[in-house]
Amino acid sequence: MKKVYGSGIREACTYLGQNYLTVDSSIVDDVLQAYRDDEGFDYLVDLTAVHYSKREGTQFDVVYILYSFAKNTRVRLKTQIADGAALPTAVKIWPTANWLEREVFDMFGIRFEGHPDMKRILLPDDWKGHPLRKEYGILQQDTEWVHINLGIESAQ
Amino acid sequence: MKVATLLRKIFLIDLLKGLRVTFKYQHPKEIYTEQYPLERPVIAERYRGLPRMNVNPETGETLCISCDLCAKACPEHLIVVESERDPVTKRKVLKNYTFDVSRCMFCGLCEEACSTDALELSQDYEIALYGRENLILDLKRLESGPDTTEYTR
């Protein structure tokens, strides 16, 4: 199940019956490609991120959830990157990643290199801030944007 | 088989079948519409509607013991329980209780949290009012129930 990829693989374990694998951000592309081609994980279930604001250096966990129709198993692939760093895109491996990566960019501000259309998806294009980061409060909003575009003081 | 399909196609059987269904439903007894203010729907017993504070039917005192569990359970934090400690009995006494129905999503978590059956989501569903501020209910309105609405055209 777990493949040896040199020192890139940090951790591979099972929690509550669910397998996951932590890899270095530099080899994420190769591992994903290998998973699809060699292991038959032909379905990218989800692509998301988690923000660990208290962690030094690599603040973000980007999570890929893969599924194989043939084996009926799911695997989670995690990689850690720093704020402002970019990851290679997975669009060329699974087209699904297109909107999912856009959503991650929208919500966390993580860029994906080589993505065909890297822009916000759920929020307005010129919105400031990335709401799912931990420092972004739940009542916080881009007041300036709301004021200009909606003509009201607050959307709440 | 082939001929049958062809014949069916020529004689528009597929279309006539659909026409029959709609024709059948023309009968006035099939009408499903409820003439709302005249006919009122039957509300299920468990329906979660406008909140109500129950009082002890004998003494008229509130059943609320100001435990604050409902306020803690509420996902929208819209319940405010104001209480003070009675200097004599050392028990919490309810001073005021506000329930902001304008933000309520009627999930029923407060009702479940209540340990004395004081707070209850009643079966009143006609809760539209003029103005949001009228939807913030205080203890008095929660106990007296909603103002009954009469429909006269």
Partner: protein, 388 residues
């Protein structure tokens, strides 16, 4: 906002689309803004169509008009408190959302709901699937121009909603399940009523079919429209009836059974061509299969408690889990990261509609405007779930 839209989509719109809209009427290409206020984009979806006459050259979806930040809310509510919010994502299938969420949290805290609760969950979730498919059928038919099925399906769905109301007190945003089981036990006469409901439903499905299945207009409008084959589906992550219509026999209820589905006997209907007609047929067959499951579950409904032992204050251990269920629209997944506190550290929801909507562009390229409407309908999207 409009201007910035144009700015970022300069290459999509072409240069002649200036600041004030199309001053030059280009004879070769037409940009058509479908939505966000449009009768058949099922809410507030905005599709920008690039047309040649009526032929679609390309599309771009603009979503987010209904974004409410459900994931952020999830990080700021306790596990119990978040449950009613998930009902509001896919609001035509609230029970399924709640089921998925409760299952996910139960996996996280390693608790299993008692059998009776599992069965009740299955019954309600399948009734909800029927209701959701009925809403889909009605609106889809309306998109294609048949008005009447909408009213028939909504009438029949009403009976299901009545059962929901009696069971849990709400019709649409039910909040039917709690973590660890169900809050409510069945009411008196529940089994009888559900069985009666099944008997009532069966002939109604026949009526929908009489109105549509063989109708030549319906067949012409749907056959060969919006084809998506199995490989495309997998690559685009499309799940649910859309995937099954492409011939892939995959259903999470069978592949990774949850609740009491492992004890149920049912089939997975599949299509062959992956066109709109097949998707219609798959969903119609699913209606029958759902009835079958409901009947079985009601017949074998076990006695016992409905709530497992779950602490009043829910504090899951540190860890993360992904759990998904087969919602009426496809795979609905919850990825929950717990840091050991009262609230989830990260609450990711994998909505089927969001991922399925991505396939729109591939499905409508080269088709006509009328097909765009049919394809949006056949994808069965709910904008509450797309935008969350």
């Amino acid at each position: 906002m409009k201007d910035t839209m144009l700015e970022t989509n300069r290459d999509f719109y072409g240069e002649e689309w200036g600041e004030h809209g199309p001053t030059v009427l280009d004879a070769s290409e037409l940009i058509l803004n479908m939505g966000p206020q449009h009768p058949s984009t099922h809410g507030v979806l905005r599709v920008i169509l690039k047309l040649d006459g009526e032929k679609v050259l390309g599309t771009e979806c603009v979503i987010g008009y209904l974004h409410r930040g459900v994931e952020k809310i999830g990080e700021n509510r306790t596990y119990t408190q978040f449950a009613p919010y998930v009902d509001r994502m896919d609001y035509v299938a609230a029970v399924s959302n709640g089921l998925g969420y409760c299952q996910a949290v139960e996996t996280l805290i390693n608790v299993e709901a008692p059998p009776r609760a599992q069965y009740i969950r299955v019954i309600l979730a399948e009734l909800q699937r029927i209701a959701s498919h009925q809403v889909w059928l009605g609106t889809h038919a309306l998109d294609i121009g048949a008005m009447t099925p909408l009213f028939y399906t909504f009438r029949d769905r009403e009976e299901i909603l009545k059962v929901f109301e009696k069971y849990c007190g709400a019709r649409l945003t039910t909040h039917a399940f709690r973590i660890g089981g169900c809050q409510y036990d069945t009411y008196e006469g529940f089994e009888k009523e559900v069985k009666k409901l099944c008997d009532f439903m069966e002939p109604k499905f026949g009526e929908y079919e009489e109105l549509l299945t063989t109708n030549r207009i319906w067949v012409e409008r749907t056959k060969g429209v919006g084809i998506l084959n199995g490989d495309d589906c997998k690559a685009l992550g499309v799940t649910g009836p859309v995937l099954r219509a492409a011939g892939v026999k995959w259903d999470l209820r069978k592949a990774q059974p949850y609740a009491a589905y492992s004890k149920m006997d049912f089939e997975i209907p599949t299509g062959e061509n992956g066109d709109t007609y097949d998707r219609y047929m798959v969903r119609i067959k699913e209606l029958h299969q759902s009835l079958r499951i409901v009947r079985q579950a009601v017949d074998t409904l076990p006695d016992g408690p409905i709530m497992a032992k779950v602490p009043k204050v829910l504090k899951p251990p540190v860890g993360e889990i992904y759990h998904s269920i087969e919602a009426p629209k496809g795979e609905l997944g919850y990825f929950i990261v717990s840091d050991g506190s009262l609230q989830p550290y990260r609450m990711r929801i994998r909505p089927p509609s969001f991922v399925n909507l991505q396939a729109l562009d591939k499905m409508v390229r080269g088709m006509l405007v009328a097909d765009v409407v049919a394809v949006i309908g056949t994808l069965d999207i709910v904008l509450g779930e797309v935008d969350r």
